[in-house]
Subunit: 179 residues, 2 copies
């Protein structure tokens, strides 16, 4: 079960480090950017989980209504021999149907990229049929881990969607603008 290990690694090696620091990063961002991230929903890390595991490197490519705005303040942590390893989160500006802008801290769950790339490499021993099942297992494992983590409460939102059918743009749009 590749997805089980990847979900734990995503939590232990990333979310457990950045989520407890998110509120502080947002409040120092707001001081310098006239309180742009004022609403409760905006102050969470939105983690995109497309069950197809098709992950774009740049969100603004996916949908013209999504534009990169700025980074949150960077987090530096000495980790496994790398001094001052950098953790960075991007803020995006998203336009709704009436062209009103909303702000959102959002990124894909990177381990899905590993699942996608593994299914494309024969020696990894992992087929594209496995991919959907592993993506679902990744989501349910991550959800359980986060629900029992006190450190990360109210700091995240998992946005899972089945983009096999509808176009990526539709999936993105409906999820974001429903905020």
């Amino acid at each position: 079960n590749v997805a089980h290990g990847l979900a734990w690694s995503f939590y232990l090696g990333y979310l457990k480090l950045v989520l407890p620091n998110l509120k502080k990063a947002i409040s120092s961002f707001n001081k310098e950017n006239s309180n742009l991230l004022w609403c409760e929903e905006t102050c969470k890390l939105h983690i995109l989980i497309p069950l197809s595991c098709k992950i774009h490197s740049n969100l603004s490519e996916v949908d013209s209504n999504i534009q990169f705005l700025k980074d949150l303040p960077l987090l530096y942590i000495d980790r496994a021999g790398v001094k001052g390893r950098v953790y960075k989160n991007s803020i995006y500006k998203i336009f709704d149907e009436d062209q009103r802008p909303h702000y959102c801290i959002v990124e894909y769950a990177t381990p899905l990229l590993t699942l996608y790339e593994m299914s494309g490499t024969t020696s990894a021993g992992f087929s594209s049929e496995d991919r959907l099942q592993q993506a679902k297992l990744f989501y349910t494992t991550l959800k359980d881990i986060l629900e029992s983590s006190l450190d990360c409460r109210n700091c995240y939102r998992l946005v899972v969607y089945d983009d096999g059918a509808t176009s990526e743009d539709e999936a993105q749009n409906t999820h974001f603008l429903s905020q």
Copy 2:
């Protein structure tokens, strides 16, 4: 097999991105630091794999002969929605028995930290007896992946050691100074 997925993720999501860029990063570092990393052996990423999975955040804590020197130039990649994600590698200065300094780009294999932390969390379903077996599986899988990767040839050195018995310092010292 958790270790199988973690080894593939370490290659696809990290080594495959940073190793092909290493030679370029070293040559630009050498221009500004009077060719400090001149020797062939030094121009590789040394990846520490202690079979105990005991990973220190800061290598200078492990052994007083090892001192952090500087970072290599940073690598920025748009990845999974994070714009300009930062990848950083640290250079250390290591003194041998005769107090002569050697330079080395070295870090621990981050996934071993995940293995260690998972074995300490009951809900991860992973015991500390599994840990040694998974650490060995991680090493052999990673070794096979890297040996068949053209992108990463001659850019790395896996330094595996059984630090269960000897003190960490001895293991560190003997490996480094044998360069």
